[in-house]
């Protein structure tokens, strides 16, 4: 009883913090707005808020939630605290797709190259291809840790191919590629949002659906099997969820480092539980809040200049992981 009450209190607190940070993210930006802009009728304010700030803040919420939940279920699957949303090679696969598209793109029709969809589609194809290969192998290896190594190796292969492509490309496309690797939350327009949000929601729904199996997996695959959990099916659903959560968001925003690895640790510490019925919604709230905070931090420099989100998320996320390790000692 006491625990339920405490959790309810924590969730309410987190929700309030998330709402405040969300409002801040809309108000603070490279053009300073008064707080009253949120409800003002001024056309310019509306334009900035509805077509720029709001989609960006929403992207931060959706992406932060998605990569945190993806990180959480990867840590459960691999029973490894250092697993994150990208361990199966999702981000390397996506960057290979983007690299092929941007750097070897001279062979593609101009119209395709110039539309934003080309970037997204190539990232999705890259991520999905790598995940499909990992998935194919997952049926052949029994141990989750072998799968982890396979994922890392695929990431390395994709990384090498990207390096080869970079070596042979012109400076302009190289710059475009490097900018993509910085990550960006502001590239998602309302049109993109119509694709991003449903896919992420579907991924989150899937993880809610398998929360019982995820709890069983905490004890290891043998105990989970002994509790009647179908390991093969659970593993398949986990990989599909990660494809939806991490694959889709990476395609739209670029890679965002360390948030997905750090948030599950924060949530487990905060709620003092590993129960996925708590940690999944907890990761959604904490992940969204943390990425919103990171986005706020990118606005810290003077007007008209922002920092790359991928660098900020690493600056925030990596110390959190070090702090957790020191705290546990």
């Amino acid at each position: 009883m006491n625990r339920t009450y405490k959790n309810g209190l924590l969730f309410t607190g987190l929700l309030i913090v998330a709402t405040i940070v969300f409002a801040c993210d809309i108000v603070f930006g490279n053009v300073r707005l008064p707080l009253s802009a949120l409800w003002s009728d001024d056309v310019l304010y509306r334009e900035i808020i509805y077509n720029f700030r709001l989609p960006k803040a929403l992207t931060a919420v959706v992406t932060g939630a998605a990569i945190s939940v993806a990180g959480l279920i990867m840590q459960t699957l691999f029973r490894n605290p250092l697993a994150g949303p990208y361990v199966l090679g999702v981000s390397s696969g996506a960057s290979l797709g983007v690299a092929v598209y941007l750097l070897a793109g001279s062979l593609l029709p101009i119209a395709f190259v110039q539309s934003g969809w080309g970037l997204v589609i190539s990232a999705v194809i890259g991520a999905v291809l790598v995940l499909l290969m990992v998935l194919g192998i997952s049926f052949r290896v029994r141990q989750a840790v072998s799968l982890l190594i396979v994922g890392i190796m695929f990431g390395q292969i994709a990384g090498s191919l990207v390096t080869i492509l970079q070596n042979n490309s012109n400076p302009d496309s190289l710059k475009l590629f490097v900018v993509w690797t910085f990550g960006s939350l502001s590239a998602v327009s309302w049109t993109y949002m119509q694709v991003l949000v449903p896919l992420v929601v579907l991924g989150l729904f899937l993880t809610f659906f398998i929360q019982k199996s995820l709890n069983g997996l905490l004890l290891g695959e043998n105990y989970a099997r002994g509790l009647g959990i179908n390991i093969g099916r659970t593993r398949l659903l986990i990989i599909i969820s990660v494809a939806l959560l991490a694959g889709t968001t990476t395609a739209f925003t670029g890679p965002i480092a360390f948030i997905g690895m750090a948030v599950p640790h924060l949530v487990r510490g905060l709620f003092r539980t590993s129960d996925h019925r708590i940690t999944i919604p907890g990761s959604i709230l904490c992940g969204a809040t943390l990425l919103l905070l990171c986005d706020l931090a990118t606005q810290l420099p003077a007007d008209g200049y922002t920092l790359p989100i991928n660098a900020i998320s690493a600056l925030v996320g990596a110390p959190i992981i070090i702090w957790i390790i020191l705290k546990n000692k």
Binding site: P81, L219, L227, R268
Partner: protein, 317 residues
């Protein structure tokens, strides 16, 4: 007959570990599975538990072929206690035991009032109610193992399989776990099959022993197996023997040429003889050197000393 294995072949891939196994477990049995390293104790348990496929033969549960059960059905018949380390951050003993209810909960895994009641009862059966809100990383190894056993009890299965439940525990905890299993098998009428290297404990606690040698399994009550020399046969070695009177394992010490006679009161003479054997000194009734144990003292060659250490010092130096 609860569980029956007939003509069972176990192993990995192409590697056969044991074949033609015929085993029976009855309701309420406490069965200790013991034997040499590599004789397939864990493989047998894992095969019975359905964690790996058998390479031939049949396992039936109340006459039903176990191989045809779904994971969910199996989870309601077999509960497992494995050697796999459970190292989960922020998992309370209560939540660990509640895992045992997973086969009975809906998709969300939420516990009903009845599930909670069973979790409480299971915790009470292993005397762990007071630790229910402690994290598993905070409790002792013995308490953690009792927690895992409580999880298996909460699973509410007629059969519990335990792979070396006393490994890594100190002596009081090993005995406590064995006594606990003994008590549970009497009170719950569940069948327990556990693998163990604790021969002494197994001999004193088990209803049946499955003794695994390199070629086949000897089955019987412990006393029969001891009386017919099956233990000596299976563990066959020149380095030790099983004492015919108490079943304890005795080391065959290499004896030198020195002989002494021991007279006096037990238990001093008993421990003195053990010390002499350990040092390779034979004890014979009419040797030249006589040691007399009397009221806490030892007399040898007209000298009186007060400890076995001093006796040995006199004899060997």
């Amino acid at each position: 007959m609860l569980l029956q294995a007939s003509n069972l072949t176990i192993g990995y891939g192409n590697h056969i570990v044991q074949h033609h196994l015929n085993l029976v477990a009855e309701v309420g049995d406490l069965i200790c599975l013991t034997g040499l390293n590599g004789s397939g104790k864990s493989t047998l348990l894992r095969t019975l538990a359905g964690l790996q496929k058998s390479l031939g033969g049949h396992i039936t549960f109340r006459g039903k072929d176990v191989g045809k059960l779904t994971n969910e059905e199996r989870a309601k018949l077999f509960a497992l206690v494995l050697t796999d380390n459970i190292a989960v951050e922020n998992l309370t003993i209560h939540d660990l035991v509640a895992m045992g209810r997973l086969p009975y909960t809906g998709w969300s895994g939420n516990l009903s009032a009845n599930d909670e009641k069973i979790v409480k009862e299971s915790l009470a059966q292993v005397n762990l109610l007071h630790k229910s809100e402690s994290l598993i990383c905070e409790v002792s190894d013995g308490e953690k193992q009792r927690g895992v056993i409580a999880k298996a009890l909460a699973q509410d299965t007629p059969l519990v399989l335990l792979d070396e439940p006393t490994a890594h525990l100190d002596l009081p905890n090993r005995i406590e776990i064995m006594l606990l299993l003994r008590r549970l098998s009497v009170h719950t009428r569940k069948t327990f099959i556990l693998s163990t290297h604790e021969l002494d404990l197994a001999l004193q606690m088990a209803d049946k022993i499955w003794l695994m040698g390199n070629d086949g399994v000897q089955v019987g009550v412990p006393e029969d197996l001891m009386l017919t020399g099956k233990f000596q046969e299976t563990f066959g070695s020149t380095a030790f023997r099983f004492d015919e009177t108490d079943g304890h394992c005795k080391i065959n010490h290499l004896l030198g040429t020195l002989t002494v006679a021991v007279t006096g009161e037990s238990p001093a003479t008993l421990w003195l003889e053990r010390a002499l054997f350990r040092c390779g000194i034979s004890v014979v009734p009419n040797a030249d050197i006589v040691i007399e144990a009397h009221q806490g003292c030892f007399r040898l060659q007209n000298q009186e000393v007060h400890s076995i250490e001093e006796v040995l010092h006199h004899l060997l130096c």
